[in-house]
Each structure stands twice: as C-alpha cells, then as structure tokens.
Symmetry: C2
Subunit: 701 residues, 2 copies
Amino acid sequence: MKHTFLRFTGALAVAVAVWPAAAQQTTTMPPGYVPEFGTMWTFDAPPLDYWQSRYSFNATRSWLDHLRLAAVRLPGCSASFVSADGLVMTNHHCARSCISAVSPETPDYLHAGFTAPTRAEELSCPNLYVDQLVGIEDVTDRIRGMVTAASDAQRVAQREAAVASLQASCQESSGNRCQVVRFYNGGMYSLYQYRRFDDLRLVMAPELEAAFFGGDPDNFTYPRYDLDVTFLRVYEGGRPYQPEHYLSWSAAGAAEGEPVFVVGNPGSTGRLLTLAQMEYLRDVDHPARLTDYDRRLEVLYALVAKDPEAARRYENTIFGIENSKKAYTGYQAGLLDPSIMARKKAFEDDFRGRIAADPALQAQFGDAWGEIADAELELATFSTQARYYGFGGSTLLTRAVNLVRVARQAGLPDAQRIPTLRGEGLDSARQALLLDEPVDLALEQMQLAQWLGTARDELGAQDPLVRALLGVRTPEAAAERFIRESLLISVDERRPLVEGGVAAVDGCVDPLVAAMRSLEPIANSYLTRSLDLNTVISSNTEKIGQAIYAAYGKALPPDATFTLRISDGVVKGFPYNGTIAPYKTTLYGLYARSADFDDKPPFELSERWKLAEGNVDMKTPINFVSTADIIGGNSGSPLVNRAGEVVGLAFDGNIEMLPNKFIFTDEVSRTVSVHSSAIIEALRNVYGAGHIADELRGGRQ
Amino acid sequence: MKHTFLRFTGALAVAVAVWPAAAQQTTTMPPGYVPEFGTMWTFDAPPLDYWQSRYSFNATRSWLDHLRLAAVRLPGCSASFVSADGLVMTNHHCARSCISAVSPETPDYLHAGFTAPTRAEELSCPNLYVDQLVGIEDVTDRIRGMVTAASDAQRVAQREAAVASLQASCQESSGNRCQVVRFYNGGMYSLYQYRRFDDLRLVMAPELEAAFFGGDPDNFTYPRYDLDVTFLRVYEGGRPYQPEHYLSWSAAGAAEGEPVFVVGNPGSTGRLLTLAQMEYLRDVDHPARLTDYDRRLEVLYALVAKDPEAARRYENTIFGIENSKKAYTGYQAGLLDPSIMARKKAFEDDFRGRIAADPALQAQFGDAWGEIADAELELATFSTQARYYGFGGSTLLTRAVNLVRVARQAGLPDAQRIPTLRGEGLDSARQALLLDEPVDLALEQMQLAQWLGTARDELGAQDPLVRALLGVRTPEAAAERFIRESLLISVDERRPLVEGGVAAVDGCVDPLVAAMRSLEPIANSYLTRSLDLNTVISSNTEKIGQAIYAAYGKALPPDATFTLRISDGVVKGFPYNGTIAPYKTTLYGLYARSADFDDKPPFELSERWKLAEGNVDMKTPINFVSTADIIGGNSGSPLVNRAGEVVGLAFDGNIEMLPNKFIFTDEVSRTVSVHSSAIIEALRNVYGAGHIADELRGGRQ
C-alpha cells in the first residue's frame, strides 16, 4: 500500500487544496456540533480530533489521501480500487447494466453469474466509466466575487456564469473533469477535479439470486444475506491499469465494536431542510406521492393479472414503484415520528438562536425561516390543483396539454413564456411531442379512467378540469372516448398538429386537445404560482445554507451532493423486533432464510449455492451492520478499518435508516454491508474464482 | 385414536352437558360477531358453522370430545396426553420446578437435560398434577335463582354461597374437582368438573440452552428457535396410565395456510374492558407500573454491579421484572395505538347502541359505562397519592404502616375495619408481621432513598407523607437513619411491638413507626376510597358482562378464565422488520442465530447440539407461527390439525401479540409453537431418545 500523492495531481494548474495546511490542527468537533447532521465528512474537513477522542485513532494526511485516491465513482454509485492490477469492487446492483450488456442470450450472466477464467476473457463494459477525485479547492470567495448584481435573477445568472467559467478553465488546464459543487445550499462552493477511466471490463459477478437474495421484501432491511458484489477491472491502453492507490484486504474483517470508515458518494440528503419544509413533505408531498404509487400499482397489477405479456413488460416498472414506495414509506415514518420532529425543532431553535444573537446575521438571515414557512403554507393551499393541472396521469393527457402549450407559448417573447419553456425549453418540448413513442392503449385507458375518477373525488365535480374532461360521463366512458377519438397516439397524426401551431390546435377535434384549450391557461397559472413560490423557498434555503455555515462553520457536514465523503461509525447490532439484531449474519442464515421459505423466490438458493453447502464454512460472516452514515449513491462504497483495509462493501441500510434522509440517528439505523470474509469464501469455494481471491489478498491467504 | 366418552363421565350424578344437544346446529358466527374478541371458544359453544365456512371443516362432536379429554391442565399451564401409555407433553418452562426438584446437584438436569432410558428410570415429580376436564354444565340460572336479596352486599354473599354449594355437591357426588367458572364478568356461570392425576414422572427434558435458546432477548418474539418441550408420564396405581383419549402425531406437521387448533387454558384477557378502563390503564396504571419497573431495576442493577453475591441472589428477581416490563411495554404499545383504541370504540358504540335500542336492557345496563368512566376518572385524581400511601416501596415501610394499622384496627368492630382487615384479614396481617424474614439492608436502604426521593418529586414537598418522612433531610440521609434506628428489622425486636398493641405503637421510638402514627389514617382514607370506587367498577363490569351476553349471546367468546378453550387459526407468516417473517423456522436458523452472536449467551448452543450438527436434517422446521389466539396459561397447549393430530406445541407469542390482551387482531400478531417435526428429529438424532419418538409416533416413522 502506497501513501504518496498521485503524480498527476501535482501537475494541476489551479491550486489543488485537497488538504488545507492547517486542517490537521484546526478541524475539531466543536461543542456546537449537532449529531443529527450525521458524519458524511468531506475530505477537506475531516474531524480528526473527534476520531482521535472517540476511536483513539490518529488519521494521517497520507491515510486520507490514500483512501480518497483508491475510491472511484461510478454513475450513480461508488466503488474502489482493490488490487494492484486495477480491480474495482462495487455492488452487483451498480453493475447490472454492464452485466446485461456483455451477456449472451444464454447463459444470461445476470441470472447465471459470470467469472472470467483469465484476464483475456474479461468482458468490456460499454459506456461505463469511473471517476477518481484528484483535487478539491474552496472557490466560495471566487464565486462570490463574481456575483455583484442587485437583483435575484441577475445574481443567479452571474453565479451560473462564474461556475461555468471556473469549470471550463479547470478542465482546460488540467485535462480533468471539473465540477463546482454547491454545499450548504450555496453556503460554500468547491471545485472538484476528477480523473476519468473509461475502459472497464467485467471480471466477476455472482448470479442475481445470490447478489439480491431476498429480493424486494428484504430490500432496505437487515438481518440480510446478500452477496451484492461485482468486480470490474480498469484498463488503460489495453492493459490492466496499475493504480498507485488501492485498498488492501483485511484478513478477518471487522470485529463487533470496531470503528469502520465508509468512503463513497452519498447522493442526496435533506438535513438542512427547515421544520416547515419537513412538515410540507409530511403533510402534503409524501401522502400524495404514496397515494400516487398505490394508484399506479393498482392499475399495473390489474393489467398484468390479465396479461402475461404485460407482466413481463412491466416487471421492472412495478419493481421500481414498489422500491420507491418502500423508501418513501420509510421517510414518512421518520417525519411522522414525534421524537424526530422534536430533534429537528430543537436544532432549529438553537440555530435561529445563534443567528438572532448576532444583529448582523439576524438582519441578513433572520427572515428566511418565516418566508419559507409562508411559501410552504401557500403551496399547500393549491397542491391538489397543481398536481392535477400538471396532467401527469397518462401519456395522452401530457401530450394534449403540451401540444396546446407549445403552440401558444411560441407566440410570446421568450421572457414572457412560462419559465420551463424559456430558452431551449420550447424547442425541447416541441421535439418531445414529435418522438415516435408507442402508447400501451390498455394501460393508457386504465390510467385515464383512474385519474379522471380521482380528479373528480379530489377536486370536486365543479372544478373546471372535471367539468371539461368528465362532464356527465363516467370516468370509464370518458377514458374510452378519449382514446377512441384521439389524434395524439401515432406520430403521423400528431406531427401536423405540432407543426400547425395555434391554428391547428384551435381547429383540432381531438376531445382531449379541445378540453385543454380551456384548461391550459389555468394550468399555466398554477404552474407559475408554484414556480414563483419555489423560487422564494430556494433563495431562502440558500440564505439558511449561508447562515448555517456562518453559525456552525464546517462543524456540520454538508448535505450529500454525490461527491466523495468519509463517514465513521462502529460495527454494532441494534434493538429489533422486540429483541436484538446481531452485528453480523453468517452463511448459516442464508441457508436458513431459504429453507424457512421452502426455497421459494425470492428466497430460492441458486444451484451453485446448493451444491456448495458442504464446501463452505457455514460460520463465515456474510453481511454486517455499522453506525456509519450512508444514503443512496453510497452503494458500492468500501468499508475500511483504521489500517485502511477493506472489511466490507456497503450496499443498503436497514429499514430504520430511511429517516436518516432528514436527520441522522444511530440508535437503530444501520448501514448494511457485505462482509469481506464472505467475498473471499465465495470466490474460493462457490465460484471457482480463487485467482480473484488471491489477487485481492495480494498473495496472502 | 378413540372417540368415545371417558367411562367415568357417565357416572356423574349431576348432569354433564359437555355438548348441548342443539349446539351443533345452532352455534354459528352471527353477523354481530366482533373479530376483536378473538377465538378462545369454550367447548360447549364451538363455532361449527364458521369453521365449516372458513376451513371447509366439519368438526364433529366426537372430534371435540376427543380433544377436550386428551387435553390436561397443569398448574399455570396447559398440556396433553400424547401416547397410549400416558405420556404428557408440555413446555419445558412449565415443568421447570419438577426438573429442578428431581435433579441431583450434578448433573443439573435443568442445564444438562434429562432422558429416562427406561420407564423404570422416570423420576417422580413432587407436588405436580394435571387436571382433565370431564364435564361442563351451564349453571347460570341455578345461581341466579339463589340470588334473591336486594342489597349488593347480600347478593354477593348469596352468590358466593350458591357457588360453594354447587361445587361441594358436585365434588361429593362425582368424586371430581368441581369449579364454578364465571364468564363475561358474571354474565354466565358454568360448573366445570375435572379429573385429577397426581402421579407424574419426568420422562424427557432438553437442556435450558435448547429449550430457552435466545433467553430473555428472544422471549416474546419470532423468528425463534426454541425446543421448549418436556415429556412427563401419568402413572396410576404405580403403572403408566392408559388414557382412552390421547393425541396422535402428525407425520409432517402443518403446511403454510393450513388451519390449526390450539387446545389449552388461556389465563386472563381484558377484551371486555370498557374504553374508560383501557384509558385508565394507558394513562395511569401502565405508566406508573413501567416507571416502577424501571426504578426497581435501577436499584437492583446498581446493587448487583458492586456485589457479585447480590448478582446471584437477585438474578431471578431481575429476570422477572425485565420479563414483566417487556410484557407491559407491549400491552402499552397496544393501548397507545390509535387504531386499536378506534376499534375498541367502534365496538363499544355498537354494543351500547344495541343496549340503547331495547328500553328494558337500557334501563338495566345503560348506565354502566358512565359509572365506570366516572369512577376511573376519580381514581385517576388521587392515583399518585394512593400509590405512595400504599407504602410498598420497601419492606420496612410496609412493616411500619401495617404495625400501626393492625394495632389500631384491632380495637374496632369487624364491620368498621378497613375491608382488607375484616374477618381473617386482621389475624393474617398480624401473623405476617411476626414472620422471621431477613431484610437485605443494602437493598432496603437504596430502595428507601429512591422511594423518598420520588415521593418528594411526585407528591410535592408539602404533602404530609413527605413532611413526616423526609422533612429537611435528603432522601439518602433519611433512609440511612430509618435503618439505623429501626426496630422492625429483627423479629425479636418486632414481636413486643406487634403484641403490645396500641400502647406499644404509641410509645415506639422507631422513626418510621413514629411517622406512620400520623400517616396511617390518611393512608386508610385513600385505601377506602380506592376500594369503594373499585367496587363500583366491579359491579358495573358485571352488568356489562350480562349486557354483552344479552346483546351478542355466545357469539363473542368470553374473556380467558384459565379454563379449557379451543382456538382456531391458520399457519401464516407476517409483515415484520420491513420484510416478511417466514411461517416457520428451521434448524439452520438455530445454528445461524448462535453463530451470528459468536455463540455467546443467551445464544450459545449446548455441546449436545454442537455435536449433533452433522446428524440432524438442517431443514427440519423448529418453530412456526399461526393466527390462533392464545395468552399466558396456554403455554404447553397442543396445536392439532383437522385430523386431531399434533402439529405443534404453543409456547409464546410474537412481540406484536401482547396487545391481544385487550383486543384480538391477526394482521401481525402470532402464536409461536414448537414444530412437531423438530421434536421427533431432536428425540431421535440429538437426545438419543428414539424410544420416546417411537412412542409418540405409535410405531410409525
């Protein structure tokens, strides 16, 4: 293991301050630290004193540099270099598109698994790349210096220009990918530089039955038994890339109580949301969203129940909605938990108290909470209308309103258009109307009927939308007619309407289009009102981001931004189900959960694992939990011990972790990881891939 | 398997109407049935039509008689005959006193397990017996006919006399044990006759590590892995008893979705409680009780932390309190669940509506709910005072108040004494003061100090109790002085005070006794007020019991009375932990849960099970869950299938079942049972007890 800088970081033209000189001394855990903000530390502000006091661990600059440079980012996921020959470890669920892309029809590698017997047989993943974070620079002052205008709109434009210019000059001078990252809602800006590797090859992937054992029911839960791992290899110039920084492998994994560090890219959290924003989500947004999931599922389940072909076609759609529903149910459980809201309130009281105590800060930021709360309250007064007048209930609804809207807005000066159709928006919307995308008319009719029925129930029979679209018809009859008389289904019938502008729209006999002629102006007014209120909210959340930075400094890690973080925690079970969840599960438990369900999907074992029963050590840990702080985007993050060795691979959280989106707690919420020992055991004794285990272990056993 | 009546039931002098002639036709599940009342059916009112419609199962008279007569009741538990030679199956935790009693010092059979190699080596259990229910007769009208007085007190006396007379004449004529059972708070009375068997011998008991695997953490939970079984044998005349009715053994156990029937003796439920009574429990009783558990545990843990000898001495006490705390936390979770309270309210509204709809019923019963609610509200106004003036916080507190009380009340005519000291109560209280029971002074001092401190916090510094016992002292100083100057510790110092009456008490210099001279009258007034209000509640709950019987008949099974019931349900998993709990667990899971916790107590495997790993079929089901309705007292109940064969042995519920105490639900609450297959597998391949497996299987494999 090497701890030197990567050579090319020294060649950067802009200053790369990955490690501010004073950080090792000054970054501490001050008394004002709020644990609910979690532990997603940026690499330029690691809490060294806190780690020292909590774990008796002195993290060095080279230790942190090494982890940062061994980590890589996949689209939507995290990963890491784990061998001298460029082996990259991530989750199976992060590599599915590659596995499917490289697979022949038979065997289907997604369901059969794949192991390249030799390097020559490693399979090239199309369109996949990983990014390595090679530089971090605080550019807050530079951006602020370029934002001088008085009006909000002008300031936004100046800021966008400043960001674009910084990114462009960085890319030009370094040859790296450069991104200005907005922390604390704009309280701080950093310039991140990435080196991209775009030749990745598939080395080893277990079958889905092992990687996603337990399927959707066990998703977001623990105890768990998933081998959610895939190995890729980075090639450069047609040969395996040899990274200076890669993670070595722990011989035994992490013990109970041992500190662990997750290095990866958490995607998005809302820990800076105000109480009013959380209440809006709890009372308005999430209930509507969950109802929407249920309605979509109701239609889809009804459809697939009578059509096996539809069952295959919508399998992934249904899985996606079920997955979102489970996640949002978990988020909502947090928002409905009085103790979580009380913690948020306690923090907000403290925060506002700190601002109020300084007249200058109070003058600058003091009104922000109230303005957000007022805007949220006003949004709530017409949220049902805004939802239905968005016409998202079916493909034909969306096409009809967009057809009318594009035609009419095209006649206005750019600045007078609705915001979404300014600039290139108008042409994008027009092109979207000309795409040749088929409509599943069976699904369309069911969706339309359902949407019309719930619109009548929620808006009332006298609402213009209900009167125009439904009148005295039943939802079923209206839906049937809209489809029967539709001119929006085929692109050939649609094109003349799109190209004919206002005249074509005004003369159109499609009944949906006819109704939209009267509804589109109402829809525009709801849309504009929503956008205006959201602008108020957004400019005030930016104030709060600046305020929090002013009040707490970097003591509070910023919300997740899908950029590299290091989170600390300990390996630890938790209270569960009236008893205790163990800190780890073992292979015994994999066979147990399968047998408990009589080997039925999604708890069936693959043939490979059935055959392996006599060959594996049943006591081998397969998954384990820790109090580290992760969220979507962290999938594939390595967990390392204080020696920087891989002890695990994060792939999920338990169900209690979902509310961490808003507030971090570690009483019961846990990160779920694949145990390093299970990976070695499976490679050697299940997959006949001892050579990969050997590569990971660097020749050790 | 035989289905005839036991011969001696025909010899009964009183009519034994175990099966009213019309029951098979008339007992149906009427539209008014309330599922929240559960399924603890009495054997004289089985819901035959419901079983027919729900399970397509036609339960016959002989099927029910057979189950009733194969079932037996142990003190506090349930059991059943399971072989032609009088083998009785119950839970290990129901037979612990016998196992300990028959065990030598080494090996300790409780921790080592025991299997009698031959019948001659079966060990006689001292003081153990089982009762077999041989007759049921409705005696409601006979008792009502003997209750003719106008005053409540006289009616109570007449009813008690009627019950005693019925029991005595039954016992004399039949030679059986006879008990009048009060159903529906007195809405119905039945005379139950039992045949007692009092020669029981221990045949086989697994070690505690297997019977109670998972210990206190896993108690009240599922998934679970306990072999909570023990076999006894009934002897008669020195030879194994050969019952005409015993349960045969299922070859495969119960499949998922299969109906099962639990035959056993549920102890006590509160499903007839009014909403006001549940609210009192929720708002007053349970919070105080849970706080009390926490305080007692705090003192005990502090004590055992510094004294290993105390740790051994109080191990069982602590376990008992933790167990109660877990149970009451579960009950309280139900009471705090708005959906559960809403269901109770919906039922109460329906019930009161039925009563109000009939003027005669309204006149007789209509006021009962209001009177209970008023009494509960009044109890709540002084519940804190009543609790502290009960002086239950320490042994010396109790002794001091009782010393003063006994001396003073002895001078009053019986009828003027407080109710608890009337009749034999006075002498019992005096004798209790003369028992030579040691006081643990370290514990006593900690308890006193804690009690004095919380009394001051909860009653306020101006309360007479706080002024008299604490004054200006700290709780610690006061406790130290009470013990230092106590005359109540040794029985030799206490005896002259008890025997010296009022004069001795008045002259006593013990500081606790001195304080009690002024506090005892206040305590008496709180006590009397509580008792009076509870009498009001009790007479009105009896009215409600009569009213429910009048409104719903036997459609609603009566609250549990520790008498034989048959409950139906299906084998079924449940939503749990964000995913699904399987309907059964397997031996894999036993080894898994042990390995997950690194084989640490209470998850350590016994040596016997470690050695057996290669010999057992790991897929053997060990525990399973069903929607059957049980509660404490049902421990040891057999679960049978429609053929009347043993498929399991009930031993616990999941944590979600605890609120079933008040309202039965089956969305997530489950009965947890040992699977019949695990018993056979363990007997044959772990315990070297193939002969017992053979006996259970009646010669089949």
